[in-house]
Symmetry: C2
Subunit: 495 residues, 2 copies
């Protein structure tokens, strides 16, 4: 028998995490190896297990434990216990406001949404996804109403991905960021740099070998992870020592799978850097998407899309792909630093990426607020895209259908990508201040000082601080776009 | 709301099946793709989910539904409903006799046992597995005591795998079988046939392609299945349209992976032949191991190890492996019909296979009855093996450590392999009577008439009959070793 109510909560949290991490394994399998006719049953499984975790957490005894545990730890100054309890209380409150039947129905709708979106994207026909999207939007609104909010429904959804930040704050950050990005982009265009490509045929097997070597060098432990193939790269945690990533292969462009792997390795390093003995507890769980994405973007962009990276890996790449022999380190670097507006967010360069996000944010708000009908999404998307990125959208697959998020009802997720970019630059600025010689280490392929700093200052804390508290602790201030803008200027205009 | 208590049971059974089939997916992953450091947490997950299914089935309301449903259907003559209810009653009784804590502890022990067995086998050191085996044996006895039995503990365990049969009946069948097998074996030895081998290097990729073509031709639907690689071939159901198999590759012997695939395809065809709309209900579940194994052995031995098979597939194999060009159909047939006592059960020929099983049966009984200590297993094994198969056992890895079953506490499982052999021969004898021209069809690679007959007479019934009732329905009599002995004589002595 657990000795205290707090211990009972710990043990329930661990039990829930066993089920939740079975769900993530089922999801990983869904995207990698599941036979095509297995999807329907898989959707039912996910709905059932998600419902079970919900029931386990909203059981009557949990409310009793929460009350008693609050008394138990009131007198102590154990910061971690207090943080864990606060998280459980918040989660309990949010969870008990939503009926189990609603959760299960929404899970089923997500599975159906995924199937509909996949088909719609494949056939390039938004109408195939529209009914599903309408239902998921309606459910998301309902969910926001269950959870409650003071200002806007969007706040309630955002809270899922980035606790403690408001729609108003995001809007303010974006208003600060957008004009500067547009200025940077215009300046870069005026420089008229050529578009560097690395041409050749790059067999998948070679890409896999190179990606694996690099991921391992960054610190990804293949005894606690693996790289598989999926339509969309992702990182998935199924246990404290089981964090898997995926990528996809384009044999005419090895950088596509590589940047996918760098990105997902960043996520994996965060997950594997969380204190494993606290797995399943708030203090052993990643704090937010905006912090998670800071880790993936840091490794993908600050490390991968840099000259130091190609100084270290250029030879290795040339050994695996002799067709690269004619390219210099400068050309390889230029190839990962191409700036060119494009239709697909995940392929966007660092100067245009956040414009994709702001567009998505604008449309989500309009949908949630009822200012835009689901049927009007493609037109709205295409108009805003033309205005913001100066490109005509040729079809829905390269337009509003490109991303998976809405198909799983994840409204409020997109802005955290931009938070991730801002946080990554801010963290790297701090690292550079603390280790002025860091580039020498990176050139040698010594990623350990960087990883250790991130583990200590970001990973180790789990959810014991809010994302913004964590940024203040690690960097001295909350998320501030100035660092990202300075980084972009230096990298894309002054070098 | 379900309209009746019976419908409530249906809906609970379906819910449990969603969780159970998540367990099987986690197990499949454990054997195929799980990173090495992930095993410990996976063990906890399996224990937790298994505990959950146990709780879902033993909840108070289930006992109420069982009572009410019995009244509801007493007046009807719906045979299927009655069979389902009888199964649930039996399952409920068995389940409620075992405490949840015990189930979870045993699940954990199985996970640890698996790790210990793997290491012991690798290092060829029984002592590394011995403590685990002792605990699993003790737990299996305790389990038998919880479940109850009239004659011997072994009956209670056997019931898990082969409902309705007793240890006494198995013993009687084996006593009938053994002397005839030994006679057949001696006669065959006197014939002094040469040992035919198919020599060459057979790259795994070619084996995979051939295996896949063959499995598909037999009727295995790759939209509802897949073939992966694992240390030990197995078949695993994770949903009505998600039945996966595995095999292992030896590049000096393509027959090893192929016979593995034929065997597991047999299991998969049974699982995929069950009525999918009844998935999760007794009437949509395989009836027993002895029937399941009849399906795998039928496709592996009666189909695969036959001359007709090589008449159909010899050319295909030679196309993929040109090094086979020098072998005739007769030689290929002889290569899959080699009779030669060997140490490993899964590689045993049809004349010696059941001697391995009888040995295992004898040792299990002795362990369960306390006539043999766990520490004495290797010696007992080696002595019995020498006596029964005339071979000295060189080490534990090729002796008592070769099989996985005990590491997951599966005592009482082995005899069902021999039941499978007997049932397979008996079913095939019936098929030959009904379709005298069946060999012409098989030579052409037309497996459909056979598969359709099996679907109709075996697969379609799920658990609505007991295994022996099913045999009587399909073949006119209960399991009778005479058919198997006749088949072996004809195949191994008279052709």
């Amino acid at each position: 028998m657990p000795a205290s109510a707090y211990d009972s909560l710990i043990s329930r949290a661990r039990e829930i995490s066993l089920v939740e991490n079975s769900v993530t394994l089922l999801q990983w399998d869904q995207e990698t190896f599941l036979p095509s006719r297995g999807h329907d049953f898989r959707g039912q499984q996910l709905a059932c297990l998600t419902g079970l975790t919900h029931r386990l957490f909203t059981a009557y005894e949990v409310s009793e434990w929460l009350k008693k545990a609050a008394d138990e730890i009131a007198a102590t100054d154990d910061f971690e216990k207090k943080a864990n309890l606060a998280h459980w209380q918040r989660r309990y409150e949010r969870a008990t406001r939503v009926p189990v039947a609603f959760i299960e129905e929404m899970e089923l709708e997500k599975s159906r949404g995924h199937v509909a979106w996949t088909e719609a994207r494949q056939k390039n026909d938004f109408a195939l996804f529209q009914p599903s999207l309408s239902r998921l939007l309606a459910q998301s609104r309902e969910l926001a109403d269950f959870w409650g909010y003071t200002d806007t429904r969007y706040d309630a959804l955002l809270e899922t991905y980035e606790p403690g930040i408001t729609t108003r704050e995001i809007t303010a950050l974006f208003q600060q960021l957008r004009p500067s990005l547009i200025t940077l982009l215009a300046e870069r265009r005026r420089q008229g740099r050529p578009v560097q490509r690395l041409l050749g045929h790059f067999p998948s097997a070679g890409q896999m070998a190179l990606n694996r070597d690099i991921a391992e060098a960054l610190g990804y432990d293949f005894q606690a992870g693996r790289i598989d193939t999926s339509a969309h790269p992702f990182c998935n945690t199924s246990g404290p020592f089981d964090v898997r990533i995926t990528t996809r292969y384009d044999e005419s462009d090895f950088l596509s799978s590589l940047t996918g792997v760098l990105h997902e390795t960043g996520h994996a390093l965060y997950e594997l850097g969380l204190p494993s003995e606290k797995f399943g507890l708030p203090s052993g769980t990643a704090v937010s998407n905006g912090i998670h994405e800071s880790q993936s973007r840091l490794w993908e962009n600050h490390i991968g899309r840099s000259r130091t990276f190609w100084e270290r890996w250029g030879d290795d790449a040339q050994k695996i792909f002799p067709q690269l022999a004619s390219y210099s380190v400068e050309e390889m670097t230029a190839a990962v630093q191409v700036v060119q507006a494009s239709h697909i967010r995940t392929e966007a360069d660092e100067l245009t990426y956040d414009l994709h996000i702001m567009l998505r944010f604008e449309i989500e708000i309009a949908l949630l607020e009822g200012q835009l009908e689901v049927a009007g999404v493609p037109t709205a998307w295409n108009e805003l895209f033309q205005k913001s990125l100066g490109l005509r959208v040729p079809d829905a697959a390269r337009g509003c259908l490109q991303d998976i998020h809405w198909s799983s009802g994840s409204f409020g997720y997109f802005p955290t990508y931009t938070l991730g970019n801002l946080n990554a630059s801010q963290l790297m600025a701090t690292v550079r201040k603390k280790f002025p010689q860091i580039d020498d280490e990176l050139t040698l392929g010594n990623y350990e000082p960087l990883l250790l700093w991130l583990r200590k200052n970001v990973h180790a804390h789990g959810q014991t601080f809010t994302p913004q508290q964590l940024m203040i602790q690690a960097t001295g201030e909350p998320t501030n776009p100035a660092h990202h803008l300075a980084y972009l200027r230096k990298k894309y205009l002054e070098s």
